[in-house]
């Protein structure tokens, strides 16, 4: 995700992305529009420029062509008519200058010595002078006309020609250009050069035409001669003094140079150029005059011609920006109005997440839209949560009540188990130690020990199948029955048979309990025992042997009411230990589902056989706990240990 979106809301992302896209689209459209419209404008400008240049060229040509006709006609006349007198020639010239406003002056310049050493004026010349005419006879010592270009070039080329402009000192005394037509006399088959007929035009006349051409604000036109001399230019100091090439060099403008080349070669064209007057970017259109070999150039300033399109572009930009801002405003309004319910909901759920389920959710405006559905779902979720929490609170309270009652039951149950033998303290014939580690649930292990009479210790251990309240009740019944049936003189088989009978009456849920009962004669060490389906206890002799007490083939109690329990007998010697336990010891399980097993128990017993009983019991309990590695204890763990300290067989033998 781009960094700009970090910690931003949906509204921001929406507005941002749409506006960015919108701006991109607008810029593309504007760019295309600008490009195309500029191309159209340029095309128009090009066409207009060409038209303007051609029109101007035509205009100049139309003015110049009649000027050319007059000396041509006069030359023809001079060649094909008998020689005229000087006054006649002067009359002709005078009429020409007088009747043609475009012609500044006209001359007939004869080849020197055409008339031999005649005193006649060899080059009569009339020109305008204010409102009247002025006559000059050229060919004085100060005006050697036959050395001037206007005379020599047609003489040599034998063709009519427009001269480069020049200042006619001693003649017209202005800047002018001269059209010179050679004329000849055919003498004995040979065309002999006789002189030239000329017509002058004033350059100020041309300048007037050129300067009347206006393009845009700062556009202008100029005229260059065959050799590149400026004949007309807004910068009058260039006229006649500089060529277009000089100017290109001065300005270091290769474009101008190549345009100069094209113009002097008589080409027509259109190309970009920097204005010589304003320095702005321009286009130039140029074309040659048909009459002379001069070329007209017209400059069009680009910025002024494209001012319209530039203005249009500014308007489009402004409109675009305004539209963009408007769109941004609308987008922000829409986005925030769409996301406002979401924000409200987010704020409300913030409170709910913090645990306050009573935070009111924002009102649903449009039940069918996504936010409406979401809000509705949240409302239902909050309701469900509230209901669930209420139920859970009730259930928990109920469970706690039950558990506390079970704890009480457990305490009562545990209270039924003897802790010591208060009435017989000080008896030295035996040690007895018992421990019951209850499982988390109410279990069904039991043990008991009591003196039946002064000589007989009765001890029992038992395990009700199953757990829970029913097992606990069955345990208490068994515990009570054991004690009440164990009356003086009865053997353990007889007692168990009696207890079994009572337990088996009305036992619809098939509960049963395994019970081992032993009765030890604390004087003699004689032990009579009966086993109702219980794990046989171990007898640990002082010599180190560990053996399980024989089974008495007794069935667990509570199953068959008329089952007859048998008893067996063994004798304990001083120091012998009887170790009773429930399967909570041997079937303690670790995480790998392995059992503690009798094998491990026997190992523990052989290690601890000489320890005091409490240490033996806590040691084994410690080992069992360590083995199960924190696995929850599944069953009660019970141990009952009796160690005989009487004289046993030995004593009895001694007594006898």
């Amino acid at each position: 995700m781009p960094a700009v979106f970090k910690n931003r809301g949906i509204a921001f992302r929406l507005v941002f992305l749409i506006l960015i896209s919108d701006a991109a689209i607008f810029v593309c459209i504007f760019g295309y529009n600008y490009r195309v419209s500029r191309q159209i404008i340029e095309k128009d400008i090009r066409a207009n420029a060409r038209n303007l240049v051609m029109a101007t060229v035509n205009r100049i040509d139309t003015a110049l062509l009649p000027v050319e006709k007059i000396p041509e006609n006069l030359a023809y006349f001079l060649e094909n008519s008998p020689p005229l007198a000087e006054e006649e020639l002067k009359g002709l010239l005078r009429a020409i200058v007088e009747n043609n406003p475009d012609i500044y002056g006209a001359a007939i310049a004869f080849e020197p010595r055409a008339f031999g050493r005649d005193t006649r004026c060899q080059a009569p010349y009339y020109c305008k002078s204010g409102d009247s005419l002025r006559f000059t006879c050229l060919g004085s010592d100060s005006y050697r006309y036959f050395l001037w270009d206007w005379y020599r070039i047609p003489q040599e080329t034998r063709h009519p020609v427009w001269s480069e402009p020049y200042y006619d000192r001693g003649g017209g005394d202005i800047v002018m250009a001269t059209y010179s037509v050679p004329f000849y006399q055919t003498v004995s088959g040979e065309r002999r050069f006789m002189g030239v007929v000329t017509a002058d035009i004033s350059l100020s006349w041309l300048t007037d035409i050129i300067s009347s051409i206006k393009t845009a604000e700062s556009g202008y036109a100029f005229l260059v001669s065959k050799k590149g001399h400026f004949l007309a230019h807004p910068q009058t100091d260039l006229v006649l003094k500089k060529t277009i090439f000089d100017e290109a060099m001065t300005r270091n403008d290769p474009d101008l140079y190549s345009i100069g080349m094209a113009m002097t070669e008589g080409k027509t064209g259109f190309s970009p150029l920097t204005s010589m007057v304003t320095g702005k970017a321009c286009w130039i259109a140029y074309a040659p005059l048909a009459s002379s070999n001069w070329s007209l150039g017209v400059l069009f300033p680009q910025d002024e011609l494209t001012a319209d399109i530039t203005r249009l572009n500014h308007v489009v930009w402004t409109l675009g920006l305004f539209g963009f801002l408007l769109l941004a405003g609308v987008m922000i309004t829409i986005a925030s109005s769409i996301t406002r319910p979401l924000r409200d909901l987010a704020t409300a759920t913030e409170g709910i997440a913090a645990g306050n389920l009573d935070v009111p959710l924002p009102p649903i405006k449009f039940p069918r839209d996504e936010v409406g559905m979401l809000t509705d779902a949240f409302a239902r979720m909050v309701d469900s949560l509230k209901r669930y929490i209420r139920d859970l609170t009730e259930t928990t309270a109920q469970k706690e009540r039950i558990e506390s009652e079970l704890r009480v039951a457990r305490d009562i149950q545990m209270g039924m188990l003897p802790k010591a033998l208060p009435p017989v303290t000080g008896i030295l014939e035996f040690d007895i130690y018992a421990t019951l580690e209850p499982a988390r649930q109410v279990g069904g292990d039991l043990y008991d020990f009591f003196l039946v009479d002064d000589d007989h210790l009765c001890f029992t251990i038992g395990d009700v199948a199953g757990k829970g309240v029913s097992a606990a009740l069955f345990m208490t019944v068994t515990q009570t029955l054991n004690k009440t049936k164990a009356i003086q003189g009865r053997g353990p088989g007889e007692i168990l048979s009696s207890v079994n009978k009572d337990l088996s009456v009305e036992n619809p849920s098939f509960m049963f309990v395994t019970v081992f009962m032993g009765i030890l004669n604390i004087r003699t060490g004689d032990l009579e025992f009966s086993n109702g389906g219980h794990n046989p206890p171990y007898l640990i002799r002082t010599n180190g042997t560990i053996e399980a007490l024989e089974l008495t083939d007794g069935l667990a109690l509570g199953i068959e009411g008329d089952f007859s329990y048998l008893a067996k007998k063994t004798s304990l010697r001083t120091g012998d230990t009887v170790f009773l336990y429930t399967d909570g010891v041997t079937e303690a399980m670790n995480q790998k589902k392995e059992l503690f097993t009798q094998k491990r128990l026997e190992q523990e017993l052989s290690i601890r056989k000489n320890q005091p009983l409490d240490r033996m019991a806590t040691g084994i309990m410690g080992r069992v706990k360590a083995f199960s590695e924190g696995e929850p204890q599944a069953d009660d763990i019970t141990m009952l240990i009796v160690r005989f300290h009487g004289q046993g067989d030995q004593g009895n033998i001694n007594a006898q």
Binding site: A465, F510, T514, G533, D553, I559
Partner: protein
């Protein structure tokens, strides 16, 4: 615990149990067998060859089944017990009230 019907010989319905029958699995064991009993199978042979462990809760389930079959004049036989399991049956005295046979074949021959 895995429990399945693995065949029937004459009217003897043979069930094979593998794994463990403890406080967790005993209810399932009990329900499955009671389902078969209620479906009319009253002479059951339970092959416990694959049984690794049985807890007192498991014994109680077997007792429940046996008692139930007794009311229907049915019969329950257990066979192929491993030593550890057999020991449990012997200690608890269950082998005195429920026939324990060496193999399924032996159990089929029993009346």
């Amino acid at each position: 615990m895995e429990i399945e019907n693995t065949g029937k010989e004459k009217d003897r319905f043979i069930i094979t149990v593998t794994g463990r029958i403890d406080a967790v699995t005993a209810p399932e064991f009990e329900t499955r067998l009671l389902d078969w009993i209620n479906a009319g199978e009253t002479r059951l042979i339970v092959d416990l060859g694959g049984l690794e462990y049985i807890s007192s809760a498991g014994l109680r389930s077997i007792l429940t089944i046996a008692k139930n079959l007794k009311t229907k004049q049915g019969k329950l036989a257990l066979c192929s017990l491993r030593d550890t399991v057999k020991e449990v049956f012997e200690i608890s005295g269950f082998s005195t009230i429920i026939p324990v046979c060496e193999s399924v074949a032996a159990a089929v021959k029993e009346k």
